[in-house]
C-alpha cells in the first residue's frame, strides 16, 4: 500500500534520514520506533509531503507521491495525525471535525456520528473550544478529525505523548479497533512496548538509519530492543 524507497532528507545541511526504505501492506499496523531524534517524525512528514526527499521515491496505492503537494494527499486516502495533536484550538470540537472532512464534505454528518461513537467523550464536548480539552481529549479529537476524511492509511505520530497510562491504553485499543475496521496504520512511538504489542510489524530507527525490522513479537522478544527501548 505504502512503499518508501531509499529516501534521504536534509534539514539544511543536517542529513536527517539516511536511505530509509520501508513498506506498509493493506490492513497492517506498522510501528516505527526509536529514540528521540532518530528520524521517526521526519519520516512521517516526508511521506505526507511536509518535507521533501532528495533521492528515492515514495509510492502510495501504486502511485508515486514523492512530489505530490501535501494538501492533495488527503483526498488520496492518506491521513497524518501530527506530533502534538495540532488541533485547531480556537475552534469548537465540531468545527475541528468538519475541518477533517474538508476535502470531502459530502458525508460530514455520518462521519461525525462515527467519530462520536468511537470517542463518546468528544460528543459531550462537541460545542466546546478545542483549547479547553485535556491532552487525552485533544488526542482523541486529532484522531477523530483524521478519521473524518475516511483514510485508507492513517499515520499517527506519538499518540501516547504526555498522556496518563490509562489513557495511553485507551488510545492504543482505539487504534487497534480502527485497524480492525479496515484502516491501515503507520504508527510512530517512543513507547516501544505498547507499540510493539499491537503492531504486526515494526521498524527500528537509529540516527536516521533503519537498524532492525521484524514482526512485533520478534522485536518484543529481542534482547537488543529490550536493552535499548524497554528498560532491560
Amino acid at each position: 500500500m505504502l512503499k518508501v524507497n531509499d529516501i534521504n532528507v536534509y534539514y539544511g545541511k543536517i542529513h536527517a534520514l539516511k536511505g530509509i526504505s520501508l513498506d506498509v501492506k493493506q490492513g497492517e499496523i506498522v510501528a516505527l520506533i526509536g529514540a528521540n531524534g532518530a528520524g521517526k517524525s521526519t519520516t512521517l512528514k516526508t511521506i505526507s509531503g511536509m518535507l521533501r526527499t532528495k533521492t528515492g521515491s515514495i509510492s502510495f496505492l501504486d502511485e508515486d507521491i514523492s512530489h505530490t503537494e501535501a494538501h492533495k494527499l488527503v483526498a488520496k486516502g492518506l491521513a497524518h495525525v501530527p506530533e502534538g495533536r495540532r488541533c485547531f484550538l480556537q475552534m469548537t470540537v465540531m468545527e475541528n471535525l468538519e475541518m477533517g472532512a474538508y476535502t470531502d464534505p459530502s458525508n460530514v454528518k455520518a462521519g461525525i456520528e462515527d467519530v462520536f461513537e468511537r470517542f463518546p467523550r468528544l460528543k459531550h464536548r462537541k460545542n466546546q473550544i478545542a483549547g479547553t480539552l485535556s491532552g487525552g481529549e485533544q488526542q482523541m479529537l486529532a484522531m477523530g478529525r483524521a478519521l473524518m476524511s475516511r483514510p485508507k492509511l492513517m499515520m499517527l505520530d506519538e499518540p501516547s505523548m504526555g498522556l496518563a497510562p490509562i489513557l495511553v491504553e485507551q488510545i492504543f485499543s482505539i487504534i487497534k479497533e480502527m485497524n480492525e475496521m479496515g484502516t491501515t496504520v503507520l504508527l510512530v512511538e517512543q513507547n516501544a512496548g505498547m507499540a510493539l504489542e499491537i503492531a504486526d510489524r515494526a521498524y527500528v530507527l537509529e540516527s536516521g538509519r533503519l537498524v532492525l525490522s521484524g514482526t512485533g513479537k520478534e522485536l518484543l522478544g529481542s534482547d537488543e530492543i529490550k536493552k535499548a527501548y524497554l528498560g532491560g
Binding site: 505526507s48 501535501a70 494538501h71 494527499l73 488527503v74 501530527p82 485547531f88 484550538l89 474538508y102 491532552g135
Partner: protein
C-alpha cells in the same frame, strides 16, 4: 449640534479606517505578515476609479467595480511575486519587502499619474441630508461610507464563519501545517486573503477620496498607517477588532481635531494607541487563547 456633527464625521472617517484595517488584520491573521504596501493599494484603487470616471467617462459605481478588480489582481500579483517566495524567510525580511513594495507602488503612481494632485470627484451623487433646520448636515459621503462599512463587516463575518474558504482561512490562521494536513491548499488560501483585502482597499480608496478629494501618490500612506494602528488598537488578527479599532480611531481623530488641536490630532491618535497597548497589549478585542496543556 457640533458635537453630533463631529461624531458622525468621526464614525465616517473611522469606517474608512475600519475597511482598510480589515485588510491588514486578515493578512496578518492568515499569512502572519504586516503588509505595509496595503495603504498604497488604496491609492491605486482611487487612481483607477479616477481614470475610469474622468478619462473614460464611466459611471462612478462601475468605476468602483473596475478599481476593485484591478486592486484584486494587484494584490494577488504582489503576494505571488514579492511575498510567496519569502514564505519561509524570517519575518523581518518579509516586512522590509513590504516596505519596498510600498515605495514601488508610490513611485509607479508618480511615474504614471505625475505629482500634481488630482481632484477626485465624489462617487456619491445624491444630496447631503440637512437636519434640525439646517443646523446639522450629514454628508451623503458619510452615509454611503458607514453603510458600506456595515455591509462589508456583515458579509465578511458570514464568509469567514460559513463558507468553505472562510473556514480554511481560520484553519490556516491557526496552524498552517495542520491545515495542510486537512487537505487545505494553504497558498491558495493566502492568495484569496490578499485578493479580498485588496478589493476592500479599493473600496476604501474611493470612499476616502470622495470625502477628502485630493489624490496624490502618497494619499494612501497616512490612512494606511492609521488603519494599521486601528488594527493593532482593536487587536490584530481579529475582524471585529479591526472594525471597532477603526471607528474609535476615526472618532478620536475628529474629536482631537475639533476640541484639542488640529495640528495635534494625529499625535493624539497615536498616543491613545500607546496607552491602550500599555494597558492591554493584545488590543481591545485581541485573542487570548485559553490553552490547557
Amino acid at each position: 449640534m457640533t458635537f453630533i456633527f463631529n461624531l458622525i464625521n468621526g464614525i465616517s472617517l473611522g469606517s474608512v479606517y475600519a475597511i482598510i484595517a480589515l485588510g491588514y488584520t486578515m493578512v496578518y491573521g492568515i499569512a502572519k505578515m504586516l503588509n505595509f504596501a496595503h495603504g498604497d493599494v488604496i491609492m491605486i484603487g482611487a487612481y483607477v476609479s479616477y481614470c475610469a470616471t474622468t478619462y473614460m467617462g464611466l459611471n462612478p459605481l462601475l468605476s468602483v467595480v473596475i478599481a476593485m478588480v484591478v486592486c484584486t489582481a494587484l494584490g494577488i500579483i504582489i503576494e505571488g511575486l514579492a511575498y510567496k517566495p519569502l514564505r519561509k524567510a524570517p519575518a523581518l525580511a518579509v516586512l522590509i519587502t513590504a516596505i519596498g513594495v510600498s515605495y514601488f507602488l508610490q513611485n509607479s503612481a508618480l511615474l504614471i499619474w505625475g505629482s500634481a494632485p488630482k481632484n477626485f470627484s465624489s462617487i456619491v451623487s445624491f444630496d447631503s441630508i440637512s437636519l434640525a433646520g439646517g443646523k446639522l448636515i450629514i454628508t451623503s459621503e458619510s452615509i454611503v461610507t458607514v453603510i458600506a462599512c456595515i455591509v462589508i463587516m456583515i458579509a465578511l463575518t458570514l464568509f469567514i464563519k460559513k463558507s468553505k474558504m472562510g473556514k480554511a482561512m481560520r484553519a490556516v490562521s491557526e496552524d498552517k501545517g495542520a491545515a495542510e494536513l486537512m487537505g487545505i491548499n494553504v497558498n491558495l488560501t493566502i492568495s484569496v486573503t490578499f485578493a479580498i483585502g485588496s478589493a476592500l482597499a479599493a473600496v476604501a480608496g474611493v470612499l476616502l477620496c470622495s470625502a477628502y478629494p485630493i489624490l496624490i501618490p502618497t494619499t494612501g500612506s497616512m490612512p494606511g498607517i492609521k488603519a494599521f494602528t486601528a488594527a493593532v488598537f482593536g487587536g490584530i488578527g481579529s475582524i471585529p477588532g479591526a472594525m471597532l479599532g477603526g471607528i474609535l480611531l476615526g472618532i478620536i481623530e475628529i474629536f482631537g481635531r475639533a476640541y484639542i488641536s488640529s495640528e495635534l490630532a494625529d499625535a493624539i491618535v497615536f498616543a491613545v494607541l500607546i496607552v491602550v497597548l500599555l494597558v492591554k497589549p493584545t488590543g481591545l478585542l485581541g485573542k487570548k487563547i485559553n490553552e490547557k496543556v
